[in-house]
C-alpha cells in the first residue's frame, strides 16, 4: 500500500479521527501531529489543511510545531523510516558500518529517501539503548542489539514491504540489564501500598486532600494528610534526580502554596524525556516498575493537591506507550486513579501520557511544558517558574521519573528511613546507566556516596581512561579522580555513566557531543543557535587537520560566551565536554593543532570530493596537492 500517496479524503478521515480523540484541543498539537504521522507516514499539506479547518488554528502554528520536532516530517520520509542511534557508544559499537551496510543493501543514500519512496535511513541522537547497542528506530520503534545478520534481515523485511507488526518480535525486545539493585529496583511493592501508608500516617481528621483547599483557603490545619506526606518528603531530604538536584519538598510546597486562579488546578508532570546521551535508567523504571512511578506521582498529587498528571515520554520510548496505558487503566479500575482515590474525599487525580517527538531540549522543564501545551519546545523566560505558572499557566511540579519512584518509597517507608541511606548531603540511592567500555553494561543502583572506582570495578571496566558522568552536559572524570563520589556534594548526576578505555580518542568523544548539542539547540537564542554551530565547525576544523592555536583560543572564547549569554541550560552546558577534555586530555587536542598559523577551514581538495564521487575517480591526478592537511 502506497501510504505516501494516500487520498486527500483518507487523510482527512485520519485527521478527523485523531482530532476528535483529542477533543479538538489544540494544546494536544504534538500528540495530534504524532498520531497523524503514525497513520499517514508523514504530515502532508492536505493533513495540515484539514487540521487548520478542524482545530481552527492558523497554519503557521501547525507548521511551526511540526518543523520543530525531529521525528515529525512535513516531507515524505518513506514508509519505513530508519534512524540509527548515533551516540558515542553506538559509534564505539560500530553503528556507522552497520548503517553503511543497510544503505548499500537497500540502495539508498544516507539521509535521503529511496527513489521508490519506500525507505529512508538516517541517524538520530542517543536512543537510550547504550547498554545493548548499536540501536536504531524504525518508525519510532526501538530495535537494539544490532548485528550484521540483523541488519540484513531488516533490509530483507523492508524490501519485502513486510508490515512492522509482522517483524520478528525478538527484534523489538529490550533488556533491562539490572546488574545491581537497591531500594528502588528491589522494591517489594504492591500497587496502592504507598498511598495507603501515606494515608495511615495522617491524623484522623486529616483525610482531606489538599485540593479541597480552594474552598477552604487558609485552613491548612484541615489537611493533615497532605502535610504529613510533604513532611516525610522533606525529612527524607529528597532531591531531584534529573540532574539539577533541587529539593523536592520545597518544589512541592511552593506548588501547593501557589494561588489558584478560578478554573485552574494543580498539575503533576513526570519528566520521562530521558534525552541525555548515555542515560537509560528511566526506560527500565518505566518498563519494569511503572506502578512505583505512577504511585509516586499520585503521592505527589495528594501532597500538592493536584488533580491532573502528565507523563512526558520521550519519542524514542514510544514502544512503552501501550503497556503504560494498560497499567494506568488497571490503576483506574483499582481506584488508585480517578475520583476519591482510596475513598479519600476530593483526592481526584488522573494521568495522561504525552509522547515527545525527538527534541532533547524538552527535557528542560519549561520547554517540556511548552511541548505539553502543543507548542514548539522552547524554554520559557523565568521567572515566573512552573510551580506558580506552569502548564497552561497553572501551578505545576515537574519531577524526574526516578524522583517519583523514590517519593513512592518514602511514602511507604517514611522519610527517616530514606534519609538514613546514602550520605549526609545526598539521601537515598541513585540509579546509574552504565555503558561504554566495560564487561557488564546496564543498570546499577547504589546508595549515594559510591566512588567512581567502585562502579568501574563492579561493571568490569579495564584500562579506563575517562568516565563521562551525567552525559555531555555533565562532567568528564579522569583517572586521577576515580576516588571521587557520586553525590550532590561531589559529582551530581542524572544517571549517565559512560566509560572510555585507553584506546579511545577523547577529542572524538567531545566532538560527538558538540555535534549533539548543535543538533539539539532549539534555535531560540542567538548565542546557542549560532554558537553551537560555530563550535561544531571549529571542532570539525581541528578534526580535518586545519587547526591552529588560533582556533583553540576561539573555542575557549565561544565557550565563555555560551555560558554567559545562553537562554537555558542547554547552551550553558554545551561546552562542558570540550572544556573538560581540554583541561584533562589536552594532548588529544595538541596533536590536532597541526598548523602554526591561522589556516582556513575551507580545503579545496576536500571540496572536490563530490566531483570525485560523481566521476568515480580517486587517482592522484584527481587530488590537489596542498601544503596543509588535505586528508579528511
Amino acid at each position: 500500500m502506497a501510504l505516501n500517496a494516500m487520498h486527500a479524503e483518507a487523510v482527512a478521515g485520519v485527521v478527523d479521527r485523531v482530532v476528535a480523540r483529542h477533543r479538538r484541543d489544540a494544546s494536544n498539537m504534538v500528540q495530534i501531529l504524532r498520531e497523524i504521522q503514525e497513520a499517514c507516514d508523514w504530515i502532508s499539506p492536505e493533513a495540515i489543511d484539514r487540521l487548520q479547518e478542524t482545530l481552527g488554528v492558523p497554519r503557521t502554528k501547525i507548521e511551526g510545531v511540526a518543523g520543530f520536532y525531529a521525528f515529525l516530517y512535513t516531507e515524505p520520509r518513506g514508509q519505513y523510516r530508519v534512524l540509527f542511534s548515533d551516540n558515542i557508544t553506538d559509534r564505539m559499537q560500530g553503528n556507522r558500518a552497520l548503517m553503511e551496510r543497510l544503505c548499500n543493501s537497500l540502495w539508498v543514500e544516507r539521509g535521503k529517501v529511496s527513489e521508490d519512496g519506500l525507505v529512508s535511513v538516517g541517524k538520530t541522537a542517543c536512543t537510550g539503548m547504550c547498554d545493548q547497542g548499536p540501536a536504531l528506530l524504525v518508525n519510532n520503534l526501538a530495535i537494539a542489539g544490532l548485528t550484521e545478520a540483523r541488519i540484513d534481515a531488516i533490509a530483507e523485511l523492508i524490501r519485502g514491504k513486510v508490515p512492522l507488526a509482522d517483524w520478528p518480535a525478538e527484534f523489538f525486545k529490550v533488556e533491562d540489564n539490572i546488574r545491581r539493585a537497591d531500594i528502588l529496583l528491589t522494591a517489594d511493592f504492591k500497587p496502592g501500598e504507598a498511598l495507603r501508608a501515606a494515608r495511615a500516617r495522617a491524623p484522623d481528621e486529616g483525610l482531606m486532600a489538599s485540593n479541597m483547599r480552594s474552598w477552604r483557603e487558609g485552613l491548612p490545619s484541615g489537611m493533615g494528610g497532605p502535610i504529613a506526606v510533604l513532611d516525610e518528603i522533606k525529612r527524607a531530604n529528597l532531591r531531584g534526580r534529573g540532574g539539577a538536584g533541587f529539593t523536592t519538598g520545597l518544589k512541592w510546597e511552593a506548588c501547593r502554596n501557589a494561588q489558584l486562579k478560578p478554573g485552574h488546578r494543580r498539575i503533576v508532570v513526570c519528566n520521562a524525556d530521558e534525552g541525555e546521551p548515555g542515560t537509560f535508567k528511566d526506560r527500565v523504571l518505566l518498563s519494569t516498575f511503572p506502578d512505583l512511578v505512577f504511585e509516586g506521582m499520585t503521592v505527589a498529587a495528594y501532597a500538592v493537591g493536584a488533580t491532573k498528571g502528565f507523563v512526558y515520554l520521550r519519542g524514542e520510548y514510544r514502544y512503552l506507550l501501550d503497556r503504560l496505558n494498560a497499567v494506568l487503566a488497571r490503576r483506574r479500575r483499582d481506584k488508585l486513579l480517578g475520583e476519591n482515590i482510596l475513598g479519600i474525599p476530593g483526592a481526584d487525580f488522573d494521568i495522561e501520557i504525552h509522547v515527545g517527538a525527538g527534541a532533547y531540549v524538552c527535557g528542560e522543564e519549561s520547554a517540556l511544558i511548552e511541548s505539553l501545551e502543543g507548542k514548539r519546545g522552547t524554554p520559557r523566560n523565568r521567572p515566573p517558574f512552573p510551580v506558580t505558572n506552569g502548564y497552561l499557566d497553572q501551578p505545576t511540579i515537574v519531577n524526574n521519573v526516578e524522583t517519583f519512584a523514590a517519593a513512592a518509597m518514602i511514602a511507604l517507608k517514611g522519610g527517616d528511613w530514606y534519609a538514613g541511606i546514602g550520605t549526609k548531603h545526598s539521601a537515598g540511592t541513585k540509579i546509574l546507566s552504565v555503558s561504554g567500555d566495560c564487561a557488564r553494561p546496564g543498570i546499577y543502583e547504589y546508595p549515594f556516596g559510591v566512588s567512581i572506582r567502585q562502579v568501574l570495578d563492579d561493571c568490569g571496566a579495564k584500562d579506563t581512561q575517562a568516565v563521562q558522568v551525567s552525559g555531555p552536559s555533565g562532567i568528564c572524570v579522569a583517572e586521577n579522580e576515580f576516588d571521587r563520589i557520586i553525590g550532590f556534594e561531589d559529582i551530581p548526576t542524572a544517571g549517565a555513566f559512560t566509560i572510555f578505555d585507553k584506546t579511545r580518542d577523547m577529542f572524538q568523544v567531545a566532538r560527538n557531543y558538540v555535534h549533539f548539542f548543535q543538533h539539539e539547540s532549539c534555535g531560540f537564542c542567538t548565542p546557542c543557535r549560532v554558537g553551537t554551530s560555530l563550535l561544531k565547525n571549529l571542532m570539525d576544523k581541528l578534526h580535518n587537520g586545519c587547526g591552529s592555536p588560533y582556533d583553540f583560543a576561539e573555542i575557549e572564547k565561544l565557550n565563555q560566551l555560551l555560558q554567559s549569554m545562553s537562554h537555558c541550560g542547554l547552551g550553558h552546558t554545551a561546552c562542558n565536554p570540550v572544556l573538560d577534555t581540554i583541561a584533562k586530555f589536552r594532548p588529544y587536542y595538541d596533536q590536532r593543532m597541526t598548523q602554526q598559523d591561522f589556516t582556513p577551514a575551507f580545503n579545496l581538495d576536500r571540496a572536490l570530493a563530490a566531483a570525485r564521487q560523481m566521476t568515480g575517480r580517486d587517482d592522484a591526478a584527481a587530488h590537489l596537492s596542498t601544503e596543509h592537511g588535505g586528508a579528511a
Binding site: P45, I48, D49, P58, R59, T60, K61, E63, G64, A66, G67, F68, Y69, A70, A359, R376, N381, Q518, H519, E520, S521, C522, G523, F524, C525, T526, P527, R529, V530, G531, T532, S533, L534, N537, K557, L561, S564, M565, S566, H567, A601
Partner: protein, 233 residues
C-alpha cells in the same frame, strides 16, 4: 517612596512591574537590543540586551527591575559579548550592507556600529534563503532575517492575522508565512499591517520605495542608534 536601582553607577527610577530596559529607556539610557520593541511583549531571544544584575548575566528586556539592583551594562566585557552576538547574527544570514536598501535604517547595522564591530570575525554560513516577491506591495528577503519574531508578534497580537511564524529548529530555524504555498502573496498581509512596520532589518520591504530616501539621509545616518532612546521619550 520612589523605587530605584543603579545602572552603571547611575540611579534609575522605576515603577512596579517595569523591566530593566524599560526603566533604562525611560531614563534616557540606551541598552542595545534587537528583538525588544517597547510596544510588544518581550521575547528575550537575541540576548543583545544582556546586562549583569548583581554579577549575573540576564536579559534586561525580560528581567523586572527590583529595588537596589546593581546593574552593569556599558562595560568593556559586556559590550565585547554583545559584539560577538552581533557578529554571529551577521555570519548566520547573508548581510551585504553596501547593497542593502535598508542600509542606514537597519538596527542590526546601527547596533554593529554602536558596538564598534569592525568585521564579521566568524566564518560566514552563506545559507540559501530564497526571496519571496509574490506579494504585490511587499518583498520578503529572508537572507537578512535575525529571527527576532517582531513580525510574528505584530501580526498575531496587533493585526490578528498570524501571517508569520517561526519553524524549524536550531540553526535551521526560519520564518514561515501563513499560506499553503508558503508565499506572502497568498496571505491577507497588507502594508497597513503593524507587521509591515516592525522589521529591525531588511526582511520585510515595501516595493517601489527602495531608495526613496538616499543613503546618507537615513535614520542612523543622522544620529547613532544610542540617541534614538531619548527621542522615543
Amino acid at each position: 517612596m520612589s523605587l530605584t536601582f543603579t545602572l552603571d553607577g547611575k540611579t534609575i527610577p522605576f515603577t512596579e512591574g517595569q523591566t530593566i530596559i524599560q526603566a533604562a529607556s525611560a531614563a534616557g539610557v540606551f541598552i542595545p537590543h534587537l528583538c525588544y520593541h517597547p510596544e510588544f511583549k518581550p521575547h528575550g531571544s537575541c540576548k543583545l540586551c544582556t546586562v549583569k544584575v548583581n554579577g549575573r548575566h540576564t536579559a534586561s528586556c525580560t528581567m523586572r527591575a527590583a529595588p537596589g539592583m546593581v546593574v552593569e551594562s556599558d562595560t568593556e566585557e559586556i559590550n565585547a559579548e554583545r559584539r560577538a552576538l552581533t557578529q554571529m547574527l551577521f555570519v548566520e544570514g547573508n548581510h551585504f550592507c553596501p547593497s542593502c536598501e535598508k542600509s542606514g535604517n537597519c538596527q542590526l547595522q546601527a547596533t554593529a556600529y554602536h558596538l564598534g564591530m569592525m568585521s564579521p570575525h566568524y566564518d560566514h554560513f552563506f545559507p540559501s534563503r530564497p526571496v519571496d516577491a509574490s506579494h504585490p506591495d511587499a518583498l520578503l528577503d529572508f537572507n537578512r532575517c535575525i529571527l527576532c519574531s517582531l513580525c510574528v508578534r505584530a501580526s498575531r497580537d496587533v493585526d490578528g492575522k498570524n501571517v508569520f511564524a517561526l519553524s524549524g529548529r536550531g540553526i535551521g530555524t526560519h520564518l514561515i508565512v501563513n499560506a499553503k504555498s508558503g508565499q506572502l502573496g497568498d496571505t491577507d498581509f497588507t502594508l497597513d499591517d503593524k507587521a509591515a512596520q516592525v522589521c529591525p532589518v531588511g526582511v520585510i520591504l515595501k516595493k517601489r520605495r527602495g531608495f526613496a530616501v538616499p543613503i546618507g539621509e537615513r535614520t542612523y545616518d543622522k544620529a547613532p542608534i544610542a540617541d534614538t532612546v531619548t527621542e522615543g521619550k
